[in-house]
Symmetry: C2
């Protein structure tokens, strides 16, 4: 093992806006030595997440920022190839924050064992991972959608949005997606079963929502923020629930976030807007994984992956995510 | 009765921004004839409310706008002086939407009988009326404040804010007010029992909140919107509840409302922001009136009134409200 090289993507400087190539240094490091109570994971797939933008900014968030010179934080799935940890023997497949590198060292904290019988490895970063959990708990617990309601989801063809759309449809809701471009919109309708999908790049989202949701929006699941959030707020039903999952349109410009000017509709519609962090539902993940795995197996939910090859693609893959150029859940195959 | 004059304030044109004098016409009309199932109320006190600004704008709200030429909508309390309605005999004291005029005609819809033994007439527009109900249900039901939590209330010396501050204190919360000017801030601390009051006209609200609420804000009760809402959002505790009661800083400029740019703290703090309309709690008003009347009687809650004399003061009284120049609940004594 020590003869192998551990390629790592490290944070070289804090980005101003969209992180360009010189924010990262790609270095060859040694494979970490395994101390007592530790194990080493050979990463197979690395997750590219919107939250990464927040992790590299200094400032108050739910998690400490990645330090300059540190390996970039990332969720990954892989196999344990060296272990001095009784609960995590060599050969175990695991998911955890193993970083953007070939080999990650762990003490087992926040590490989950993967059951490959449930779904292929990368799906444990997608439908059975954080995006799937976010969709499941955000829609069913925070949004509390009910059969017969109208659910609108932004970034509907993305990692979280594609799962939200399909669970909402399974639960008997009318689903309207919002996505960028006609290919994505076709995918959202034909593959995910949405009743319609609004191409935010070519139409007025607010007026399309008005005609597509004549009774108003009961649950708006927002991954985007900005003008799209405002368009949804202008079309809420009475007692609507707005789930604030993310705001990818704003993450590269957090010093001048566009606040939702239509937030006063929360009063006239007796509506709520609630933020969520998927980690708060960790004690119930097993239930969600089991239910989602069943839906995947039965073909009731599809989980599309967008796979980039090789660690050195990390800087461009992250920009691809923020450009909305990915289609489904974006991962790097190591 | 028909020999008397019914002075009326009617909407002459829709205001652009703050309503100036020429938005209103003050006319002498006849006292209305009482039809079958109707009664006439001689108004004694008329309530001046922030919601009035919305009522005179065309557009989508929770209630139809006042038409041009129509008597201005207003809550009022008074005595029935003519009746052909079995349930509302002459001499009954009532509260309802009787308009900015001497005599209002009603069929009894949305009219409440007043028990003068509970509190003097104008208090039925204040602590025992809509502001008191808004404070009670907004703080205890929507905000769900708990003993030991930190409650921050904006417009703390206003009609709703003064009641919120005192109920929160009674419930064992640490109360921080936000108000404009040193006189109001002194009142909020000395008369309402807040631990501190931030003068938004002279200090940085966000940094003052940071030092006054070291554990963060558990419940923010917002009557103001704009920069003050953003300052509170920047200082939320985990699982905070933001009650959106109003946004008086924005009502005169609804075409370019300042959205809360710090709304993403809802995610990192797993917080919620919820709008409320006091009418949704009408079925529980009797409980709140009874409890508030007890607190008033026992001196545990004070309800300060700001009384203007005469119907012709209506245009200037409304501007006074939006200038934040009132001190406590603003009413017109007819």
């Amino acid at each position: 093992m020590s003869l192998e090289v551990n390629l790592q993507v490290r944070l070289a400087k804090r980005p101003d806006g969209l992180p360009d190539d010189d924010c990262w240094s790609i270095v060859e490091h040694f494979v970490p030595e395994v101390g007592n109570g530790q194990f080493v994971v050979r990463n197979e797939f690395i997750s590219i997440d919107p939250a990464m933008r927040g992790w590299v900014s200094a400032g108050d968030s739910y998690i400490a920022p990645v330090a300059i010179g540190e390996v970039m934080r990332a969720r990954a799935v892989g196999e344990i190839v060296g272990s001095r940890h009784a609960a995590f023997p060599v050969g175990t497949k695991v998911m955890g924050f193993f970083g953007v590198q070939n080999f990650g060292l762990s003490n087992g904290q926040a590490v989950t064992r993967i059951d490959e019988a449930l779904a292929p490895m990368p799906q444990h970063l997608a439908a059975l991972g954080s995006p799937g959990m976010t969709a499941y708990f955000g829609l069913l617990h925070v949004g509390a959608c009910q059969a017969g309601e109208t659910v609108v989801v932004s970034a509907a063809s993305g990692a979280v949005g594609q799962i939200v759309a399909q669970i909402a449809r399974l639960k008997g809701c009318t689903v309207i997606g919002i996505a960028g471009g006609s290919d994505k919109c076709r995918f959202v309708v034909e593959q995910l079963g949405a009743q319609a999908c609004i191409d935010y790049k070519s139409v007025n989202v607010a007026s399309d929502l008005r005609s597509l949701c004549p009774q108003g929006i009961d649950v708006f699941f927002d991954n985007v923020g900005g003008d799209i959030l405002d368009a949804a707020l202008a079309n809420l039903a009475q007692h609507a629930r707005v789930v604030i999952c993310g705001a990818i349109s704003q993450y590269n410009n957090l010093d001048s976030v566009k606040g939702p000017k239509n937030y006063l509709s929360l009063i006239s519609k007796r509506a709520s807007m609630r933020g969520m962090l998927v980690t708060d539902f960790a004690d119930r993940n097993a239930i969600a994984v089991s239910e989602l795995a069943g839906w995947l197996r039965d073909g009731l939910v599809r989980s599309t992956l967008d796979v980039e090859a090789g660690l050195t693609r990390f800087p461009s893959a992250l920009r691809k995510l923020f450009a909305g150029a990915n289609f489904g859940k974006l991962v790097i195959e190591v």
